[in-house]
């Protein structure tokens, strides 16, 4: 099911809020997770259950404070047959949710995935100053499409994002390549999505050519930008000497791991007893090279983290946003994960059916059976 929906009063964000309210009132959803402005004007995410509270919801907010897939893992870990929670997510967040579903960290049953186009977002830090008191801020950016991508506050992860349209969703709400003051693009990919769109007056039609072209050209320009960024990255990172230097500011705070949506372990290996050394052991390790950097295992942490989650990395870049010393993690992880996933012909978050590359050996096992 796909088509366009008429936008009321030249306000696409209010139109989407209206749909949220309708779904909550009709009981199609028991709650909905969406970006929202706090009283102080900061970018947050909230789970709304009362339709009257929705005035604070800002589904089209061009800022990202958290990858909401982490929140999905927090709320949908256990089966809950009676709840129906809508998750209003950006493309990278949806990709992470797909990975977490495959990793059995998010149960799909009680969730409806509502996606939205995203031409990119601002950093959450300092965002309230960027926005000021502009009540029409979100809509202005939607009208601008991707025109604000050169702003200094535009997130590094978003600068390199080639997926402005979600890949997996129950329903997607699109505005790229549309006239968002007049109409929004709706697409239901599953029965869950179709059920949600019941009773909504869509003008059914095929995806407009103009929209397809706009998405393609945005994706192409991002790919070109990514290639350039990776070229710059290689100049400062490639090889043992530079790699150590690249991470030399790292405080070993592990923030990047804590905010990462696909770093899903409840207790990180690096917080386990394996890394608890007594004083004698510390001295022994130090004697090997004459000195040890403290806190120890800083580079080991990053390299191991890459080995543990690169196959599922969705390149959202939230790791860099969380870094207190701004290590350039977004470009680094983009490069490393892109190469790693290519090795397996895999793309994180592309499909729920595509098996995780590290844990499948069906072809190999079948061959043994035949022999």
């Amino acid at each position: 099911m796909k088509g366009t929906l008429k936008v009321e009063a030249k306000n696409p964000e209010a139109t989407i809020r209206g749909l949220f309210a309708k779904w909550l009132k009709e009981g199609r959803l028991s709650a909905i997770l969406t970006p929202a402005y706090s009283d102080a004007g900061t970018a947050t995410v909230a789970l709304f259950s009362n339709p009257e509270k929705l005035a604070e919801a800002a589904p089209l907010m061009p800022a990202m404070s958290v990858n909401s897939a982490s929140i999905a893992a927090e709320i949908a870990r256990e089966p809950s047959p009676n709840a129906k929670v809508g998750l209003f997510l950006r493309p990278c967040e949806l990709r992470a949710v797909v990975e977490l579903m495959k990793l059995k960290q998010v149960l799909p049953d009680s969730l409806v995935l509502i996606g939205a186009d995203c031409p990119g977002t601002y950093k959450a830090a300092g965002f309230r100053n960027v926005r000021g008191k502009d009540a029409d801020f979100d809509n202005k950016h939607v009208r601008e499409q991707s025109g604000y991508a050169d702003n200094v506050n535009f997130r590094m992860g978003c600068q390199m994002c080639e997926f402005p349209k979600p890949l997996v969703y129950d329903v997607n709400i699109g505005f790229i390549g549309m006239d968002p003051d007049k109409e929004l693009w709706f697409e239901a990919a599953t029965d869950k999505g179709k059920a949600l769109l019941e009773g909504i007056e869509l003008k059914e039609q095929d995806e407009p050519e103009k929209r397809k072209k706009a998405l393609e050209s945005l994706s192409a320009s991002r790919k070109a930008k990514t290639a350039k960024r990776i070229e710059e990255l290689d100049k400062t990172m490639l090889g043992p000497e530079k790699l150590v230097e690249y991470f030399s500011d790292c405080l070993n705070c592990h923030n990047c791991m804590k905010v990462c949506p696909v770093c899903y372990c409840k207790e990180c290996f690096f917080d386990s007893d394996t890394f608890q050394r007594d004083i004698g052991e510390h001295v022994r390790v130090s004697m090997r090279k004459g000195a040890t950097r403290m806190p120890s295992e800083t580079l080991l942490f990053h390299l191991t983290r890459m080995n543990h989650m690169m196959a599922s990395c969705v390149q959202c870049g939230i790791c860099e946003d969380s870094c207190p010393v701004t290590v350039g993690l977004a470009a680094l992880f983009k490069k490393v994960s892109q190469n790693a996933q290519k090795e397996f012909g895999y793309l994180s978050g592309r499909s729920l059916e595509e098996p995780l590359p590290l844990t499948t050996f069906f072809d190999e096992l079948k061959k043994i059976d035949q022999e």
């Binding site: 090279k289 080995n307 096992l365």
Partner: protein, 146 residues
């Protein structure tokens, strides 16, 4: 130390992870058959090559090992059905990451050596030692800032 002197004094240090059921038994066979091979590898017996997380390889490399050797059962012969396939896939990922970072993937070897292949074990360790001798010491050997 001058570089030439460093090279002259250099003996490659290899950390080896040997699977209990195949490669470790292969090493045992090489020993009981009195086959000669260089003493540069420190063997660590593990229950399966699939049990060796990348962290152990990385830690060995960052703390100054010149190479890491991993030995497992031949594909199809794993005592735990699919452990060596896990190791193999993990290795593909590991090598790709190491390449992307501009590090040397050739310092980490994964080889299939069965319990009957004592000769192959001795030859492989000899080959790897010579390979690392030519390559020179690991860049992380003296680097304490990792």
């Amino acid at each position: 130390m001058t570089e030439a002197k460093q090279m002259a004094d250099y003996e490659p240090k290899i950390v080896g992870f040997l699977c209990n059921w195949c490669t470790y038994a292969g090493a045992d066979l090489a020993g009981t058959s009195r086959m000669q091979y260089p003493p540069n590898m420190l063997p660590i017996r593990v229950m399966c090559s699939g049990a060796v997380d990348s962290v152990y390889i990385l830690r060995a490399l960052l703390e100054g090992a010149d190479g890491v050797f991993m030995g497992g059962c031949h594909p199809g012969d794993c005592h735990y059905v699919s452990g060596n396939y896990k190791a193999r896939r993990r290795m593909v990922l590991f090598s790709s990451i190491i390449r992307s970072l501009g590090l040397d993937e050739d310092r980490v070897w994964l080889r299939w050596i069965s319990a009957a292949e004592g000769r192959k074990f001795a030859d492989t360790i000899t080959e790897m030692t010579e390979h690392l001798r030519k390559k020179g010491p690991s860049p992380f050997k003296e680097k304490w800032e990792v």
